[in-house]
């Protein structure tokens, strides 16, 4: 039985989100505990139209002041029980305020356990490192392999992105250090695990290979989108198809002007063509 009282050994920045399953099929937020500077807000769960059997919980991750001051440490644990659905969001970019020196690091460490048939959608706003900030974060996802044949693995949709700072103030990748690590482990019920994905980016001003700006080649934002599991399979397929359909670099468009003749273009193609035009007009990667 869980203790209804606040434990006295609370550690700053620690948080736990435990989405439990009330048999037979009602998910319930069993625990949402947090300590300054972390704050968690959970609105009432909703049902979606295409999956009416599943109650989807949402939790907002907040930090006081909208970001992390040098030396802040956040340690969040998320536990999803089988068949539960959780969306984690933020209410704006996570600001990283300046640090007195490269030796004072702020950290964010998140561990998420994803049970079979459950799904996690973690779509935060971008991290915004200010000038002279110093930050490292690590996200570890443990995906439990299904033991019974009827079960499917959990699903994961995770975005991790960072921008170049406050552009209006002339900041352009001008922090001391930014590190972000995403790891996905497949775990067996008996505790053994194997690494499926490690995406570890480290940008440090003191690495002697020129400034970070020169290494970013005019990019203003950089991110990783991770899609895993049966629930996001079709979304993953969509992305792969869109990448395949990107215009060839240095190719000639011999069939220009054919759009008006062809009446049977479907909506997806029109949308894609519009996006390509917009991308080339704004000079995205070309």
């Amino acid at each position: 039985m869980s203790n209804p009282f606040l434990t006295a050994t609370a550690v700053p920045g620690h948080g736990i989100i435990h989405l439990a399953l009330l048999p037979p099929s009602t998910p319930r937020l069993k625990t949402t505990s947090y300590q300054y500077p972390l704050k968690l807000i959970s609105p009432a769960p909703v049902r979606t139209e295409n999956e009416p059997y599943h109650l989807v919980h949402t939790v907002y991750l907040l930090t006081y002041g909208g970001g992390l001051v040098a030396g802040d440490t956040i340690d969040l644990t998320v536990i999803l029980e089988p068949t539960t659905r959780l969306i984690l969001l933020t209410q704006g970019s996570t600001k990283l305020f300046k640090s007195p020196g490269p030796h004072v690091l702020s950290k964010q460490c998140t561990t998420m356990n994803v049970a079979p048939d459950s799904a996690l959608c973690y779509l935060p706003d971008p991290v915004q490192p200010f000038e002279h900030s110093c930050f490292e974060q690590s996200q570890t996802y443990n995906i439990t392999m299904p033991s019974a044949d009827r079960q499917r693995t959990g699903s994961l949709c995770v975005l991790d992105w960072v921008c170049n700072g406050r552009q209006a103030n002339g900041e352009n990748w001008s922090f001391y250090r930014y590190g972000s690590r995403n790891e996905i482990y497949l775990t067996l019920p008996e505790g053994k695990r194997k690494l499926l994905l490690r995406d570890n980016v480290l940008l440090d001003q003191s690495d002697a290979h020129g400034s970070i700006v020169s290494r970013m080649h005019d990019l203003a934002v950089f991110g990783t989108l991770i899609l895993f599991g049966p629930l996001f399979h079709s979304l993953g397929q969509l992305f792969m198809a869109e990448f395949k359909a990107l215009p060839r670099i240095g190719g000639r468009k011999w069939d220009s002007g054919s759009e008006s003749e062809d009446d049977e273009v479907d909506a997806a193609i029109v949308r894609r063509a519009g996006r390509h035009r917009e991308e080339s007009a704004h000079g995205v990667l070309c």
């Binding site: 194997k194 290979h209 290494r215 080649h217 060839r248 990667l285």
Partner: protein, 256 residues
């Protein structure tokens, strides 16, 4: 008669030879794609050369931070088949870019083939090298009959860990191994640069011989000194972007 050269010299020359049939020269590590993306920006040949030199340094730094820890871990960890398979899997997990993954496994498999057909007969007699050789041969056999394990993952035969263990089997020193690995990468890039007509063959040799390149390689090695494979990281994220988008080039001279 002068003193005989160190026993590892022969192996060092073999592994640094561009005639070693690894197929490294079929790949441009994103160079071709980088040039295609920056065509308008670098129109004159001198600005092209400067852009190439920056690319070379960033690419070396990125290869050092992502792959070198795996080379060295395979080199100095106790050689066992389990450890090599673990390094192989973890490197695969840490290389999200499909083009980079294909380039790495192609060269890894080529190295295994060279190992089985040529190098395995000339292993140094020290027990250290013998143990490494045994694991390499076992891995080569296992990679041919690889079945998905309980997690659904297979042996990939990535290049960096296999290169590290090969160097150990041929009794190269750790410093030689690290330097050789990065120099070979620089050579492959320079050769790609010549074929993509960014710089001429003499210019390319000049870069290769320059103190600047030597300094760059040494700095890269020093920065990675003592870094565990768990902390191997991408330090120039755009490299993955160039490499991945190589597939989108309308015409290309390198594999992707």
């Amino acid at each position: 008669m002068t003193a005989t050269p160190s026993p590892s010299l022969h192996a060092l020359l073999l592994l640094s030879d561009s005639a070693l049939p690894l197929g490294s020269f079929a790949f441009s590590s994103g160079l071709e794609s980088f040039l295609a993306h920056n065509k308008t920006r670098h129109s004159t040949s001198s600005s092209k050369t400067r852009a190439f030199e920056t690319f070379l340094e960033h690419s070396l730094a990125n290869v050092a931070s992502t792959a070198l820890p795996y080379v060295l871990a395979a080199y100095h960890d106790d050689p066992t088949l389990d450890r090599l398979e673990e390094l192989d899997n973890d490197f695969d997990a840490s290389t999200p870019c499909t083009v980079a993954r294909r380039a790495s496994t192609t060269q890894g498999r080529a190295l295994l083939a060279i190992w089985e057909r040529a190098l395995s007969t000339s292993v140094s007699p020290s027990p250290d090298s013998q143990a490494a050789a045994k694991v390499l041969s076992a891995f080569a056999t296992a990679s041919k009959t690889s079945k998905p394990d309980v997690y659904g993952l297979q042996i990939n035969a990535h290049f960096p860990p296999l290169f590290g263990l090969t160097c150990r089997a041929l009794a190269l020193s750790e410093a030689e191994t690290a330097y050789l690995f990065l120099l070979n990468h620089a050579k492959a890039l320079l050769s790609a640069g010549v074929r993509a007509s960014v710089l001429g063959p003499y210019q390319s040799q000049a870069v290769l011989a320059s103190a600047r390149l030597q300094e760059c390689i040494k700095t890269c090695i020093k920065l990675q000194d003592g870094r565990q494979v768990e902390d191997a990281s991408v330090t120039a994220p755009v490299m993955d972007l160039w490499m991945g988008r190589h597939e989108l080039l309308y015409s290309r001279i390198f594999n992707s």
